[in-house]
């Protein structure tokens, strides 16, 4: 049974469990099947992924005592593959943040760059992998929440193509953008974890590719695929398109590491050329309008009746719900729910939401064109090295701009991998490789060429 440590902060971590960087919110081991491809492996699970009989808080005071009655599909698949779940990791509240500092349970330190943020929102998952507490971790990526912490902590993260991995049991923030994906210390490890979690699920219609008459597929893209086997496959002749729009504004030290990684790809046989995607200019705006709008709808369910912090029984239901949500939500969550409500409200829907959908379609077109001349696209994963803890909490817009390189991938439903690209004087830098839809094998092959 888990014991509180340190008492009072709401974390359920036993005293004898080494968690120097405060990566975990709850430590509770669940053994998997006796054999399987992940037999003996330990996995940490982001705390917005439902675990039966293990508290799932989403980093929010609203759900501090919420214990799901069922497992997310990915957790079931981990257990079937033989993995042991070690516990649940810290995160920005409901996935809303780039630093893991919006968690109601306090921040997580970066094991690779102490005193700096681990990135977010899956910061606890990346930190647990980087510190060697677990072999693997699951994160979720709505606008970069796997790739950013992987980059900041110097580990590998994959954001799968929309529809590759089931979202059943993932507490929704922005359904049309998010995917669950793996974090590991090397590309082969991340690929092995992806093998375990990818596949169709009757509980998530977006994984049911057999129903898509417009696609020429039998079954699911992961059915006959081994992502782990793609690692080390060689990249002779691979065509890499550098997205110049995502390099120009980046920190000089990050760009230096990025250029060095491109040299490594060239040395392994790849060719590199430049591409420009004009549509990325409005990707951050489109992302935040769409994500906030979806969040305002998704988070309406937290009214303190079926689960979550109760607003009491004194007033009518509107008053009770507003009381529950004032107490249960942190500031960033309120900000996004309010802005999303605003963007969808009468008179503003066309100006914000409809134009954001246009920007999203424009991005998809740009990516389609870029993949006519490139096998994969490359950029720095994050335009900056990890922030210092506490540095940027007061300026939400500055924080949103840090997502410039990751959000285009979610808007276009594409896969991407973040691979370490060495150290700056302020912590790790990383290379992001973007693939065409269901091009994960190619990303694994290319990413592993950098190791």
């Amino acid at each position: 049974m888990a014991a509180e440590n340190p008492p009072g902060d709401g974390r359920l971590v036993p005293d004898d469990f080494d968690d120097d960087h405060a990566a975990f919110l709850t430590v509770q081991r669940v053994a998997g099947a006796d054999d399987g491809p992940l037999d003996g492996a330990t996995v940490a699970v982001k705390d917005n992924i439902s675990t039966a009989d293990i508290r799932t808080t989403c980093g929010s005071a609203m759900l501090a005592d919420y214990v799901p009655p069922y497992d997310a599909t990915v957790v079931e698949r981990l257990k079937t593959a033989g993995a042991t779940v070690v516990g649940k990791t810290n995160m920005d509240e409901f996935g809303m943040g780039t630093t893991t500092e919006t968690s109601a349970f306090g921040p997580t330190d970066n094991p690779t760059a102490p005193g700096r943020v681990p990135g977010g929102s899956s910061g606890g998952s990346a930190a647990a992998v980087a510190a060697g507490q677990v072999d693997y971790a699951l994160g979720s990526d709505t606008g970069g929440s796997i790739r950013c912490p992987a980059a900041f902590c110097g580990v590998v993260g994959i954001k799968p193509t929309y529809g590759l991995v089931s979202r059943y049991g993932l507490v929704a923030y922005a359904n049309s953008l998010e995917q669950i994906g793996p974090i590991a210390r090397d590309v082969a490890g991340a690929a092995a974890l992806l093998d375990a979690i990818a596949g169709p699920d009757e509980h998530d219609a977006t994984t049911r590719h057999d129903t898509r008459e417009d696609l020429d597929v039998d079954g699911h893209p992961a059915d006959a695929t081994s992502y782990a086997d793609a690692a080390g496959g060689g990249i002779d002749g691979l065509s890499v398109g550098v997205v110049t729009d995502l390099v120009e504004g980046a920190d000089e030290a990050v760009v230096e590491r990025f250029e060095a990684a491109l040299d490594d790809l060239r040395a392994a046989g790849a060719t590199v050329h430049e591409v420009s995607l004009p549509s990325v200019e409005t990707a951050v705006q489109a992302y935040y309008v769409i994500a906030m709008s979806e969040a305002s709808s998704n988070l309406a369910r937290f009214d303190g009746v079926r689960y979550g912090q109760s607003g009491g029984y004194d007033g009518d239901w509107n008053e009770s719900f507003a009381t529950a949500r004032e107490a249960g939500f942190g500031e960033e969550v309120k900000r996004r729910v309010l802005l999303g409500t605003y963007a969808l409200s009468a008179g503003y829907h066309d100006k914000y939401y409809r134009q954001a959908q246009d920007a999203r379609a424009w991005l998809k077109q740009d990516f389609d064109e870029a993949f006519e001349t490139a096998d994969v696209l490359a950029s720095p994963t994050m335009p900056v090295p990890p922030f210092e803890l506490g540095e940027s909490l007061d300026d939400p817009l500055r924080m949103y701009l840090a997502d410039a390189n990751t959000v285009p991938v979610n808007l276009a439903n594409l896969p991407a991998i973040s691979v370490p690209a060495g150290e700056t004087d302020r912590g790790p830098a990383a290379l992001q490789l973007i693939g065409p839809a269901f091009g994960e094998e190619r990303l694994v092959r290319a990413g592993s060429a950098l190791e």
Partner: protein
Amino acid sequence: MSDSESVDPEEVRHVAGLARVDLDEAEVERFADQFGDILSYFDALDEVPETDREADLANVFRADEVREGLTQAEALRNASDSEDGRFKGPRVG
């Protein structure tokens, strides 16, 4: 891009009401300032060309057969209060 002016605090209160989130005065002030910056940043979306966005949609159905779901106890166990096997909520009006 328009000048980044604060949003009217009354508008923040109105939206908070729609979203069923109580705010204290300090939050209203802070959000009014920040929303001005963020919304004027969103104005760049005005420059986006109108784009064809016909999505390919397919219905996904399953057979309409009774199957096991959560038990009543499982469904109720996270509720702050329940009565006679039902969720207990605040009064409606």
